[in-house]
């Protein structure tokens, strides 16, 4: 009995190289290697599932919508239901979307860029920096506000006040949707501009306005363009803020203060329609909208090689 431990001790001291190698190279316990393989397979399958909907979606929209597109789709109004042989299109919705997105861009770009300038440039490390971090925080929170709530706000402020649905109400809602996107991407872009450029500019006697307008903004321009294009692509696809602000119309919009059709609201309205022709129009408009949105969001990535995080 007593010789056992010492004998054991002895043998472990006198291992041959092969025995040492065998000890070190013990394969992983089966459970460890199998669970590793299982988890790898599982994660690849799940990642595959994540990609699947996009392809299904693009395939469905393109295959259903493209055959329905024609020149008339872009030039004429929706045909009255049940009439054969009448030019059928959604030019009014395209014009409406472009108008409202254009007006929203016109307001949100200067405001968004100024907000970003305030956050990134007007921060002399003292008390102001806490104000700018509050501004930044409100922008982040604003970017998380559901777009339907933005629509409710525009409804309360414009539609209830002026007693009518209008392109202006829709544009205001879209402005609020675009603002935080432009502001946060621009701020990120401004912070990437090297401080030495600002110092050099000030050193040559430039004022703050001259430095920002002629040195900082041009340097950051590609990334700012990215942000603007992202915001435009987001706004063009939004439905929820328009559905009860701009409403919809079968005809051309009668003015900026009248109900205005848009591609996205048209797709929504016609998708649940009992009439096949309207469903078809919905698919055709969907192709136009998705291509519009995807092109501008891919363009926005090409504008800068750097990826700028939004959220």
């Amino acid at each position: 009995m007593e010789s056992m431990p010492s004998g054991f001790h002895n043998t472990s001291l006198h291992l041959t190289n092969e025995q040492i190698a065998a000890k070190i190279c013990t394969p992983l316990k089966p459970i460890r290697s199998y669970s590793s393989i299982a988890l790898t397979v599982l994660s690849f399958v799940l990642a595959g599932i994540a990609i699947l909907p996009l392809f299904s979606l693009l395939w469905t929209i393109l295959s259903k919508g493209i055959p329905l597109l024609s020149w008339e789709s872009f030039t004429s109004l929706p045909a009255p239901v049940g009439q054969e042989g009448v030019a059928n299109g959604f030019a009014n919705a395209i014009v409406g979307t472009l108008t409202m997105v254009f007006m929203a861009t016109l307001i949100s770009v200067p405001v968004g860029i100024c907000t970003a300038i305030y956050i990134a440039e007007f921060t002399p490390t003292t008390a102001a920096s806490s104000i700018s971090s509050i501004v930044r925080f409100t922008m982040q929170v604003l970017s998380g506000v559901p777009s339907i709530v933005v629509g409710v706000f525009a409804y309360a402020v414009i539609v209830l006040t002026f007693k009518g649905f209008s392109a202006i109400a829709g544009s205001i809602a879209l402005t609020i949707v675009m603002l935080p996107i432009i502001s946060l991407t621009t701020e990120g872009a401004l912070k990437l501009v090297p401080i030495s450029l600002r110092l050099a500019s000030s050193g040559l006697g430039a004022s703050r306005f001259q430095t920002i307008a002629r040195i900082v903004l041009p340097t950051a321009l590609p990334s700012i363009t990215t942000g603007i294009l992202l915001a435009i692509s987001r706004a063009a696809g939004e439905t929820a803020p328009l559905i009860f602000t701009a409403l919809f119309s079968q005809n051309w919009a009668q003015g900026l203060d009248k109900p205005t059709p848009s591609l996205s609201v048209m797709i929504y309205n016609y998708s649940s329609s009992p009439f096949i022709e309207q469903n078809k129009l919905s698919w055709a408009a969907c192709v136009v909208l998705v291509v519009l949105v995807l092109v501008s969001s891919v363009l926005s990535r090409l504008a800068t090689q750097r990826r700028i995080k939004l959220r």
Binding site: C114, F244, S272, W283
Partner: protein, 326 residues
């Protein structure tokens, strides 16, 4: 005029003032500073204005129904009786289904595209494709949901009901639209959000952690689960909350596939409705004061919940950011 320019300088006052533009420049600078300040103020105030305006418009309904609004099931427009429970229930349940479905998928995407399973030229396109999904307008996803996802889920629902009908979650015949398609479509929409932030978080964990763990003999997955997840947990949680915020407020896609029937039913195969869905459906036609006010009350509730979720998410992600700087 020509006289003064041609003459040599007689005295000090004739020396051209090289700082002559100063006044103009200073004025422009001051103007610019104030324009920036005012526009920034307007931008920063919007969020508070939204709370105030929506709260004010909701006041008649708040006074009429109080907190009982949240627990009442009745939504009777002609009778002027409004209760939010079915909508709140539908919003929460569809978002929870979405989180349960989306979280494993999104984290898998983040892991597959950050760890070196695949060469870089395969990983980046996968990440790009997943993020592209976030750019698709939700109304287009809803259209796809009506014509592709619902027919796809219908036989699955029938099978679940046939085999597990005794279980309350699958206790009703599937109609087509309903809670399950809504949860599924929300999951598809929040995967890009959660995946892209989790991916950034995992990319920012130090390579040393991986090397150290592997040097101690951990397998790749033991490293991921035992070392990387704990290091990235606050970022992933923040990403999940942002996804939840998006799911709670998502309107069009859900409205198109949920069936828009305000009822509290345990069954996932049953029709339901959500707060954004009822806002989208009823706002345009609402005429009556109390009806509009009750819709505003619903919007205020949704606003409050998403605000809480988003603020929590911003703080979690910021906490991670400050940790990364140390």
């Amino acid at each position: 005029m020509a006289d003064t320019t041609s003459k040599p300088y007689a005295n000090n006052s004739d020396i051209p003032n090289i700082t002559a533009g100063d006044q103009v420049i200073a004025t422009v600078d001051l103007g610019f500073t104030w324009v920036v300040r005012i526009l920034t103020f307007i931008a920063a105030v919007i969020i508070f204005a939204m709370v105030v305006v929506i709260g004010e418009k909701a006041m008649p309904s708040i006074q009429q129904f109080g907190l009982g609004f949240i627990f009442s099931q009745e939504w009777d427009v002609p009778g002027d009786i409004f209760g939010a429970l079915p909508y709140i229930y539908g919003t929460l349940v569809s978002s929870i289904i979405a989180l349960i479905l989306a979280l494993p998928v999104a984290i898998s995407v983040a892991i597959v595209t950050t760890e070196d399973f695949l060469p870089e030229w395969v990983r980046s396109p996968i990440a790009f494709i997943v993020e592209l999904l976030a750019a698709i307008p939700s109304v287009a996803i809803g259209l796809w949901g009506i014509f592709v996802l619902i027919p796809f889920l219908q036989p699955i629902g029938t099978w679940l009901h046939g085999n597990f009908g005794w279980f309350p979650l699958f206790g009703t015949e599937p109609f087509g639209p309903g809670m399950l398609p809504a949860g599924a479509i929300l999951a598809i929409m929040i995967v890009p959000t959660i995946a892209s932030i989790s991916r950034d978080v995992l990319l920012s964990t130090p390579q040393d952690l991986r090397s150290a763990s592997m040097a101690l003999g951990a397998t790749r997955w033991e490293t991921i689960i035992g070392v990387l997840f704990p290091a990235a947990v606050s970022g992933i949680l923040g990403a999940t909350l942002l996804g939840l915020g998006r799911a709670l407020g998502e309107t069009m896609a859900v409205t198109m596939v949920i069936g828009n029937s305000p009822q509290v039913s345990l069954s996932l195969l049953d029709l339901a409705s959500t707060i954004p869905a009822v806002l989208a459906n009823e706002f345009a036609e609402a005429q009556d004061g109390l009806h509009i006010s009750s819709l505003m009350y619903l919007a205020l509730l949704l606003f409050a919940v998403t605000l809480l979720v988003n603020v929590a998410a911003v703080f979690l992600v910021r906490f991670l950011g400050s940790k990364g700087q140390d």
